[in-house]
Amino acid sequence: MTVKSYFLPRSLPEALRLLQLHGPELLVMAGGTVAMPLINEGISLPEAVMGLRLAGLDRLDRTDGTLRIGATATLTQMLDQDAVPMLREAARNTASWSIRNMGTVGGNLFTPPPGGDVAVALLALDASVTLAGARGERVLPLGDFFTGFMTNELAADELLVEIQVPIRSEPTAYMKFGRKHANTPAVVTVAVRIEWHEDRVADARIALGAVGPYPIRARQAERLLVGTGLDADAIAAAAVAATQGCEPFTDGIATDWYRRKMVSLFVGRALEQLAPGAGAEGR
């Protein structure tokens, strides 16, 4: 362990001040479930670390149709809320109880694939993120936050402070496929939200995890669904189209070939859950 200083700020202003003072050399840590294993293993050798656990950024607030999630709210806090059912489902499918008690929603946005199972749900839910720095705050759509494998819009002097999720009543489907039933890395994670206008699809979100450098949307498949009644043909076409634009990789869990196959299969299954007559309203 090379850490010479460990800071535990008690407020956001204090945290931002420390960040300003120490610059990019300061490793930021929230729940530590990604950062600490790397430090324990000697892969990451920071001299200065700032822990956010006591910075008071873990509040959940429901205001004007929006769930405001403090960046350091834990995955367990997602399990315990009922404003957005898909986030409960995503948390249930992420890691194990002890890790969910430590790992944060904000941290999940920084977790490289095949991790990021909550981020995938947030993407399908049209979430936005608030980044705070010395010059103030800015809000951007989550889709604009990710820029590449383990890179994002966050500037060196900024912290992620909040995630906003519109609370809607439309039915959603969330499926994580792994090699075990629980506590397992994803082969693919699929999050779907359908907006209906009468009996036609008005808009669709299909977010995919573990098949690209960060959580991505299957935009071609989304477009194909609009105007359909989510019938078997429309679902089949979207399931095929969903593989377009994804960049599956090979790791110890699955090959790129297999991941691509599973994208189609699980997008199809998720859409079937939401098809008229499937009886899965408001999952």
């Binding site: 460990y6 530590g32 479930t33 294993p37 324990n40 670390v49 367990t76 109880w97 629980a182």
Partner: protein, 164 residues
């Protein structure tokens, strides 16, 4: 490397330790306080052998800088073992042969304790869900699930008796 003093509650007693920055709770428990029930396994949060309770909630002590638990209530296997005899969970693990090498047992008992505190009558599925982060390479888990079930029954019988 400036050392700091951290105070927390361990098994109902206040303890004070002098640590280098970001020493893990796991290391403090084992190496400084001699509380060796909490095991050192993968140090990646992946095996559960270091599970302790912080304010009653299970956490992996290998991923927890001790500074983060300053002023908090930490519970380890030592804290729940009575001066005489065994905790009902320990008794049940023994009776059900829920371990062979025993390395995972302190973590298994602690997460099971947290489960029974939340839900005194869990289903088999609830138990399996709760224990997914705790790895056992000996038993195949069935005896462990049986032990937790048996402990739940024993504890509710006890509670019933006390109420009478």
């Amino acid at each position: 490397m400036a050392s700091t003093i951290v105070t927390f509650e361990l098994g109902g007693r206040e303890v004070e330790v002098m640590v280098k920055p970001m020493t893990t709770l796991q290391s403090v428990l084992r190496n400084q306080l001699g509380f060796t029930a909490t095991k050192e396994g993968c140090r990646q949060g992946g095996c559960g052998s270091c599970t302790v309770l912080v304010n009653g909630e299970p956490m992996m002590s290998c991923l927890l800088p001790v500074e983060d638990v300053a002023g908090q209530r930490v519970t380890t296997l030592e804290s729940i073992t009575p001066a005489e005899g065994l905790h009902p969970l320990q008794r049940a693990f023994l009776d059900a042969n829920a371990f062979q090498c025993g390395y995972c047992t302190p973590g298994m008992v602690m997460i099971s304790k947290a489960l029974l505190d939340h839900d005194p009558a869990p289903s088999d599925d609830d138990i399996r869900q709760a224990l997914t982060g705790n790895i056992c390479r000996c038993t195949g888990y069935r005896p462990i699930v049986r032990a937790v079930q048996a402990a739940a029954e024993a504890m509710s019988d006890d509670a019933g008796e006390q109420a009478r």
